[in-house]
């Protein structure tokens, strides 16, 4: 989270005086489980990108077609929606066949 400002420095009335400041709000600090992309199983259908409430899915357009490139973990709050809507991810598939695997955040702490 960015440095918090004092009462004399901020606009009155809770007004946010410029657009797109939500970018500075790193919802990724909330995360307790982390989606991990397994590109070998991904069909680049963009369902995860469409549903992610935090625009945390990174895409790249290759030959006019979008490709799922993984996650921006600054914004991914670990809600699991992407894994839920992904056609290549479900409980019946073994983990190694899924496009998205949800893992405890603790596994990634140094």
């Amino acid at each position: 989270m960015a440095e918090l400002k004092g009462w004399k420095e901020i606009p009155i009335g809770g007004v946010i005086d410029k657009p797109a400041t939500a970018k500075e709000y790193q919802t990724g600090t909330w995360r307790v489980i982390r989606p991990v992309h397994q590109p070998e199983n991904c069909i680049h259908c963009m369902m995860c990108w469409l549903y992610c409430p935090d625009q945390a899915i990174v895409i790249e357009v290759v030959d006019g077609k979008p490709k799922m490139k993984g996650y921006n973990y600054y914004y991914c709050k670990g809600c699991g929606l992407c894994a839920n809507v992904c056609p290549k991810t479900n409980d019946k598939l073994p983990e190694e066949k899924r496009a998205i695997v949800m893992k405890p955040e603790t596994e990634f702490q140094d």
């Binding site: 918090l4 004092g6 009462w7 009155i12 009335g13 809770g14 946010i16 005086d17 410029k18």
Partner: protein, 392 residues
Amino acid sequence: MPEVKNRQAVTGAQAVANAMRQINPDVVAAYPITPQTPVVEYFAQYVADGLADTEMIPVESEHSAMSAVVGAAAAGARAMTATAANGLALMHEIVYIAASSRLPIVMPVANRALSGPINIHCDHSDAMAERDSGWIQLWAENAQEAYDFTIMAIRLAEHEDIRLPVMVNFDGFIISHGVEVVDFLDDEVVKKFVGEPKVKYPLLDVDNPVTHGPLDLYDYYFEHKRQQIEAMKHVYKVFNKVAEEFAKISGRKYNILDAYKVEDAEYVMIALGSTAGTIKYTVDLLREEGHKVGVIKPQIFRPFPKTELQGLLNGRKAVIVLDRSASFGAEAPLYEAVKSSLYELAVKPQLGSYVYGLGGRDIKIEHIRKAFEDAFAGNLIADEERYLGLRE
């Protein structure tokens, strides 16, 4: 003193509606509620007759009225509404939002008792329920003051050091429906006095997009409240400046405290609104009998004029506070505020609390005299609430 060009006998409601017509706000959203109804009726008529080019929004409830003016003010419009009693109570949620969002809305309130039991007559329980909402509260004694304060309130609310909404309180029926002589200013003079709305962060400025009313959790809410506290601290300085300018165009000079025969007074009564007029009359009678009495009418209740009161009350023999509302299980609101103001005084006066006039109950000269006589006899008890005009 400027020549009186427009002296008319009108009801307080008409005086207030005429002030609104002259202010010519961009938006008025209102719902009629007794005893505010004639304000909205007169104003709607002015709009229908083309005498104001205000966007008039007849809403289905006061909650919507306040919501619509909040939206309009955030968009950058000069927005007004008017209400009373349960209407104000129904606005309550948005009343706080208006102040917290620092929107300079001006709202005349024809003070009336809050139900239940159902009662449509004057008391101050409606405004007192909003005393901590962050609105500035002006209190008028008569139709003239209701008119003048409505115009002055625009300048106060929109001042860049303040940016807070203002409630102009005037007693329901007593002022709203009583006919009095009022000196109106010329339309052009009012237009020039209120000027163009001073807009801050308008939503409709598409080149500079802003967000109003975002989520404000433990990380910033406290800081925004501190800003509101600060804005309240500027009110008296700005009020005095606005009052000075208003005196130039009207010949009527208002002070934070309207002090009548207080200079040498040993016994001072304090009251809000129209009753101050009856007290002034009683003070005249008692003065003829040789009693050193006076009356103070705070023109502003929020922010509370603590320092100003301390200056006037230090060393007096007794201070009697009359409240037209009760605070159940605690001291009446005006009394509580006066009492706490006097805590630090070097020479504390005796104090007495009197509640009167609930639900429109008459307040008579005898009642006021009785309270003064208690004070003359040294029979005041600071911790005892007494009642005027109540049947035992």
